[in-house]
Every structure is written in structure tokens, then in C-alpha cells.
Symmetry: C2
């Protein structure tokens, strides 16, 4: 058995799951304590650059496309006309970049409480931030929970919650009160999509998210699963909630003719990602 | 950052991939050097028991169902009448157990060169071995490459190669000569299925497998992907090869009415697992 030298490996350790995932690094490029969390950037041997927040692996250059594409494109193609989009969290700007690939989107507000995450991303992950100057994009560094409580009713088509886990600063983004405000702010036909953790290893969190969405009045829920190598179990999920409709609508022809390049998402994946394995089907029924 | 104490964590380290995956353990239950490899069994904190071979994580109680089901059921339901099945490798007997769930299967020969893997599995993973006494099953501890070279032509419907990686003892199970013999031994309409590594992290291996299958004369290939938390990237693949047909046939009604319980596989997953993400579609084209 090899030993994992702490100077050569960044380990994301989950004692409560009994797992750890490690990436080999060649250098630490940056580390700071923001007003909210500890942000670090490393150069890895095989995954390009790596960002951790409070010691938890957030993203790497090489594999973040899985997560960012699957948080953005399925929901956008499930909506008939997504014009106004809000991203809560998402400070690394990777989700924003994917959303802005859709010409039908007229405005996107990205609301992350921690401006430092974005500034660090701009410096160390320029590819994720390449669309930040798009005139349709607004970057706000304020409390997303409060923003949602104060936003006008029926003013948004799609809300994407791209947050850290439901412990610590992001806990308030996973409860009924927050989801109720999201539902209020969505127009009829609007969709909320939330990163919903690892379905195999963190199933209780996924079930809580779905239950809270239902309690907040969303008429439908749909959980998508997809690989995400650097997150627990390497397999992750996003859950869509339909304000007042069944999420069956899919602009499939648009998805097949998408005018931009993706690495993971395509129209076939759109449908396949919603097919539940047996254990998950039983758990969600 | 936490440190991974070697006495509390078993780490599967892949320096050439730049990744490591670790499971928390509470005890080492067994360790031996067989004539072929080093076999160890641990009790983990959250994954039940764990088997490693030469320090590489082979399987755990908790998550092996993903791999064993996806190696067995898609190929079986893609074949119109799978009566005679051969498993090369598979000494832990998990694949054998899944194959024997199919009443239409009349015989299965499991051929693993290392009898000790099976004896250790019988002792420490009794659930995987619960069908070993099925009268349709034969366990042979001989060289699978030689067996395939000597087996009569057109005598088998399905060959499942459930092996370790294409380095060390299993290397000979991944080349054109072996695949040519598999093709010869298969009846018309026969299928070969091979574990084909992690499509994101070990893509060159997957491409080599597919190329060798084509060179050996198989008319078609189909790569399925599925989560497998304890293998590199948490996302794995199996590749089917059709001897003289296009693999489009699927006993979907049978799969929908399957008379046994699974944890991962179902008829929806059968189709969804064959949908390729963009990066893989481009790589395989």
C-alpha cells in the first residue's frame, strides 16, 4: 500500500461516509481565509488546477464540466423560454458560463455571498470566468437567502442553486423557507434546480432536498444523476423542481441542434440522466 | 486537511492518474500471497467488507452490485437465448451469481486462474457465493486464455471477461489473439462483454479494448457506463462485442418483467447506460 504524503496529495476526507478522495499536487498556488471560508488553489499532476473550500474539493480544471453542464443545460432545455436566470452560489462562474451559452437567456444574476471565490476563480480559473463580461451577466456578492426573500414575485424563469453542502454557510439554501421564496420568485412554468449531492453515498441529503421542495409547494421533482469524479463516490446529482407543472416538457430539437460545444451534456444524456437505478427508484418512491 | 492514517484507511493509489481513493477500515481480516497475487480482506467502517488484490481495491459488500449487475444483465438481455455462458476471471463469484438469476441460462463455467480468490470470497463474502452450488454452475481454476484457445468452436452464447486491469496476470485477456478465440468459441449471435475500465480516467485502455475487439473480427461494439464508487473516478464501463450482428436486439419486455431483484440494473438503465456523453462520443467515433 502506498502512503499518501500530505505534501504531494490533497485529500478530501469524509469520515462520516468512510471514504476519502485524493488528488496528486505539484504546488499550492494560493490560500486565504475569506470572511466566510478558507479558499485554496493547487496545481495538480493530472487535473489541472484544483480549488478547495474549507478543505473540501470544489472543482478542477479537468472535470468540472460534468457538474456545471448538468446544473445548467437540462433545466434550460426543460424550460420553454428561459429568459431570466438567477444563480445562487456558483462563485467560480462555471455555471454562469454554461447558462450564457444559451442565446435565449436575456439576463443572469449570479449571487454568491463570498466575492473572494469569484476573484480567486478569475485569477486561477480564467476559462470558467471567460463569459463574466457578457452584458447579460450581473455578479452580485450578497446573501442569496435574503435576495430571494426580497425579490419580486414571478420575476424569474430559472433558479440554479450551485452551492456547497448543506452544512455551514450554505445550510440555509436547502430548506423549506428558502424553497418557498424560490417558488414565489419563479414565474409560472419556472424551474428550480439544486445540486443534490451524491445519490449513493449521501442519499439522506437528497431525500431531504426533495421533501423540502415538495413541502414548499413545487408540483414536481426530477433527479438527474451524472459522474463527477472529484466529488464523493464520483457520482452526483441535480434535482429539478417544477413550480406548477410536471417537467415533462423538453425542447429536444433545440438540444439536438445546440449551437455550442459541450463535453458531457447532449440530448441523449438529457433523457438518460433522468433514468433512475433500482435502489434510487425505490428510495424516491 | 486530514491525514490518512495507514492503520485506519486502505488507499488505492494511482500515481499515473494522479488520484487515490481510500476506504476507512476497522480491521484487517485476512491477507495472503497466492501463487498469483496478494489477496487481502478488511472490515470497513461504511462499506462492509473490502477485498484488495495486489493493493488495488477489487470490491466491497456495499457497492459491488453496480459492477456485477452491469457486467451480467445488459449482455444477457441483449442476447435472444443465452443458454451457455462462460465467465473468464470473476473469482469473487459476484458475476456468476447475477448470471444465475436468469432461468434461460443452462450452464455457466467460471474460469479463474486463482482458486484462492474464490476460497477467500466463500469465507468473507458469502453473499456473493450463495449460488455457487447451483447445478448449472461449474467453477474451474485454470488458465482462461488457454481454455479459450482449446474450447470447441461455436459452443457458447455469452463470454463475460470479469478481470483485473490489463497489466500483470490479466494482460492476456485484453488482446486480439484472446478476442479471436472468444469470437471463434461464440455461436452465431454470440456476445463478448469485457470490463473496459474508467472511460474518463482510463480512456486509452477503453480505446485499446474496442480496437482489439474490432481487429479480432467482432462486427459491433457497444460501451455501457455506470457508477462504481470504489473504482478510479467512480465511473466505470463495460464493452459488449457482437460476433456477427449489431447488438440492437434487446429483450426489453423480459427485462421489464425480470423475475429477480436488482439494486442498479433495470430496463431503463439498460438503454440509458449505452448513451454516450459528448467527450466519449467524440473519442469513440
Amino acid at each position: 500500500m502506498h502512503k499518501l504524503d500530505e505534501n504531494q496529495w490533497v485529500s478530501d476526507v469524509w469520515p462520516d461516509l468512510g471514504t476519502a478522495f485524493s488528488l496528486k499536487i505539484s504546488a499550492k498556488l494560493h490560500e486565504e481565509q475569506s470572511p466566510f471560508q478558507r479558499i485554496a488553489v493547487y496545481e495538480t499532476s493530472h487535473f489541472g488546477r484544483l480549488m478547495t473550500i474549507d478543505g473540501i474539493i470544489m472543482l478542477t480544471d479537468r472535470d468540472n464540466f460534468h457538474y456545471h453542464e448538468m446544473l445548467a443545460h437540462p433545466a434550460l432545455y426543460n424550460h420553454p423560454a428561459p429568459r431570466n436566470v438567477v444563480i445562487i452560489g456558483g462563485g467560480d462562474c462555471g455555471t454562469l458560463k454554461e447558462v450564457l451559452k444559451h442565446d435565449e437567456v436575456e439576463s443572469v444574476i449570479q449571487i454568491d455571498i463570498d466575492e473572494r471565490v469569484t476573484r480567486v476563480a478569475e485569477e486561477y480559473f480564467p476559462a470558467l470566468c471567460e463569459s463574466n463580461g457578457d452584458p447579460r451577466a450581473t455578479l452580485a456578492f450578497i446573501d442569496g437567502i435574503r435576495w430571494m426573500a426580497e425579490a419580486p414575485a414571478e420575476s424569474v424563469d430559472l433558479i440554479i442553486v450551485d452551492s456547497t453542502d448543506p452544512v455551514g454557510p450554505a445550510e440555509g439554501l436547502f430548506n423549506v423557507d428558502f424553497y418557498r421564496n424560490c417558488r414565489r420568485v419563479l414565474r409560472s412554468g419556472g424551474i428550480l434546480v439544486q445540486q443534490s449531492e451524491a445519490p449513493f453515498l449521501q442519499l439522506p441529503w437528497l431525500l431531504d432536498i426533495r421533501a423540502a421542495m415538495a413541502e414548499a409547494g413545487f408540483m414536481s421533482r426530477k433527479t438527474l444523476s451524472f459522474p463527477q469524479p472529484v466529488y464523493p463516490s464520483g457520482f452526483y446529482s441535480a434535482t429539478l423542481a417544477g413550480k406548477d407543472h410536471d417537467l415533462g416538457f423538453f425542447r429536444e430539437a433545440d438540444a439536438r441542434a445546440k449551437p455550442f460545444v459541450t463535453e458531457y451534456y447532449n440530448a441523449g444524456i438529457h433523457r438518460a440522466s433522468a433514468v433512475l437505478p433500482e435502489f434510487l427508484k425505490r428510495a424516491l418512491d
